[in-house]
């Protein structure tokens, strides 16, 4: 946020640099079951983001002392490929990805029936192959599909979506330029059925009214993304039927 520039992010017709309306999502494509070895997997293209997620587990938690006798431990690992951004990112976890892994783990755990799998871990690996802003919310969206693909029982498919502010206008789903030069970003994860909020972060500068407008936008878009998730899951399982 907040890098200064003379770039105009919204033109005279009220359109954004990629031609979108303020409340319009970038194109999203999802595919379920893209990896052979993982218990569940999914792939998402969201604007310029390309992210793959894999789930392993529930499997015995190791080392043993981390086991929780009452429930499964949900461990998400958010990781960016070194070549996923313009300037090469040093491989391995940095402070940002440690924080994101933590909040994503907590958000995913909120929908998983962890008490059904005591002493286990459910490992969720999120690999960002190409980044274009909004990777954490796209990562949650695709991780949720991978969990469903792995047959993990969940309350609902959790959806990630962000809104923010650019050139003083509240907009949905910021892209890279908007994220760099905009004034605020509000990443959220929403449980579509109950409309509960499982992840919420914000950085920038927004009035109360602007923030509410942004959260309204993300809550609404979550329903649309949720429909795409269901479609992606159905697609995989109808394809399997056809093969048989």
């Amino acid at each position: 946020m907040g890098m200064k520039s003379d770039i105009k992010l919204i033109d005279d017709n009220g359109l954004r640099i990629d031609g979108r309306l303020p409340n319009q999502l970038r194109p999203i494509k999802m595919e379920v079951g893209v990896l052979k070895r993982a218990d569940g997997s999914a792939y998402i293209e969201w604007g310029g983001n390309k992210i793959i997620a894999a789930v392993y587990g529930p499997r015995e938690a190791y080392p043993k002392h981390i086991q929780d006798p009452n429930k499964a431990i949900v461990r998400a690992r958010y990781n960016m490929a070194s070549f996923s951004v313009d300037e090469r990112k040093k491989p391995g976890p940095d402070r940002r990805s440690v924080e994101l892994s933590k909040v994503i783990s907590e958000a995913l755990e909120s929908v998983i029936f962890t008490e059904r799998f005591p002493r286990t871990t459910i490992d969720v690996f999120i690999e960002v192959l190409q980044a274009d802003a909004g990777t954490r919310v796209a990562g949650i969206t695709v991780a949720s599909l991978a969990l469903a693909d792995a047959g993990i029982p969940m309350k609902d498919l959790i959806v990630g979506c962000a809104a923010g502010k650019i050139d003083g206008v509240v907009v949905l789903d910021l892209n890279k330029e908007e994220d760099n030069y905009g004034e605020a970003d509000v990443p959220m994860a929403i449980i579509p059925r109950t409309k509960e909020i499982a992840l919420l972060q914000m950085d920038g500068d927004m009035s109360y009214e602007e923030l509410i407008t942004a959260m309204d936008m993300a809550m609404e878009a979550a329903q649309e993304i949720h429909r795409m998730q269901i479609e992606a899951l159905k697609r995989k399982y109808t394809e399997i039927e056809e093969v048989e």
């Binding site: 946020m1 907040g2 890098m3 949900v74 402070r95 940002r96 440690v98 924080e99 892994s101 933590k102 909040v103 783990s105 907590e106 958000a107 755990e109 909120s110 509000v186 449980i191 109950t194 409309k195 509960e196 909020i197 499982a198 992840l199 919420l200 972060q201 914000m202 950085d203 920038g204 500068d205 927004m206 009035s207 109360y208 923030l211 509410i212 959260m215 809550m219």
Partner: protein
């Protein structure tokens, strides 16, 4: 990840029931209202070797924040700006659940949430910290030293960071760069953290409350009532109404905390 967990203290089931029962009657284990923070005491200039410092006592939680200001090279993409960097250490003397070693995810999240508030709230006028464009700038190090952990490190640390910054002096004379000057502060972002206990939202949770909370939300607001940063934590959820309520409360509570940081404890804004 280490075993350093904020919420690992075991609160007996009885205490959980007791806290819930109290909440249903509109009160809390230490008698506070839901929107009431613990007594807050700030001692600026506690560590005199630091360029700025503040010891924060929020109830029994104690955090010492030190600010060091040194010379360094600016980042290539921001040649006209000083640098801010924030670190947190959960030293083992502060809690039986804290272990020595490199910062775990809890300490990293704490440092990043404090940093986000100060950075996105533009607390420091970083453009005034350029010595030679693209070559030499002042680097402001905020170091958070947790001394006694009785809940809500986010607010104690965020308050300490802002207080230490307002106390900080840039040591220009030491480097033959003219007279020392006060670190240029332009905004006053203050974090306020809420915990969800049952279906109740309480401000500034103590350790007992934190250990039974299902979800946590930190909202950082500035003197104009604008929101600069938010961070939700833990594996529970908030309803949208709860989030709105917390944001609203954070603006009011933040205002009170700000006047204490500014040393105007009558509650007047300056």
């Amino acid at each position: 990840m280490g075993a350093t967990k904020f919420t690992e203290g075991v609160v007996p089931e009885m205490k959980r029931d007791y806290i819930h029962k109290l909440a249903s009657k509109g009160t809390r284990i230490d008698g506070r209202h839901f929107d009431e923070i613990r007594p807050l005491k700030i001692t600026k200039g506690f560590a005199s070797r630091a360029e700025g410092s503040a010891l924060v006592e929020l109830g029994n939680t104690k955090v010492l924040v030190g600010v060091k200001v040194e010379i360094g090279t600016p980042f290539p993409d921001t040649p006209n700006s000083g640098i801010l960097t924030t670190n947190a250490e959960l030293v083992p003397l502060a809690s039986p659940t804290f272990e020595p070693g490199p910062p775990g995810e809890e300490a990293i999240e704490l440092a990043r949430v404090v940093d986000r508030g100060i950075r996105e709230g533009h607390a420091i006028d970083l453009e005034k910290l350029v010595i030679e464009e693209g070559e030499k700038v002042w680097i402001v190090f905020i170091d958070i030293h947790v001394l006694d952990y009785d809940g809500n490190l986010f607010d104690a640390s965020g308050i300490g960071a802002l207080a230490a910054l307002t106390d900080a002096v840039v040591p220009a004379s030491k480097h033959d760069l003219g007279d020392d000057f006060k670190l240029p502060i332009q905004h006053y972002p203050v974090p306020v953290t809420f915990a969800k206990i049952g279906n109740w939202i309480v401000a500034d949770p103590n350790l007992d409350e934190e250990s039974i909370a299902s979800a946590r939300l930190t909202v950082t607001t500035n003197e104009n009532g604008y929101i600069n940063a938010m961070q939700k934590g833990l594996n529970g959820t908030f309803t949208y109404d709860e989030v709105k309520k917390a944001i609203n409360m954070s603006i009011d509570i933040g205002r009170k905390i700000r006047s204490i940081i500014m040393g105007d404890s009558d509650g007047k804004e300056n």
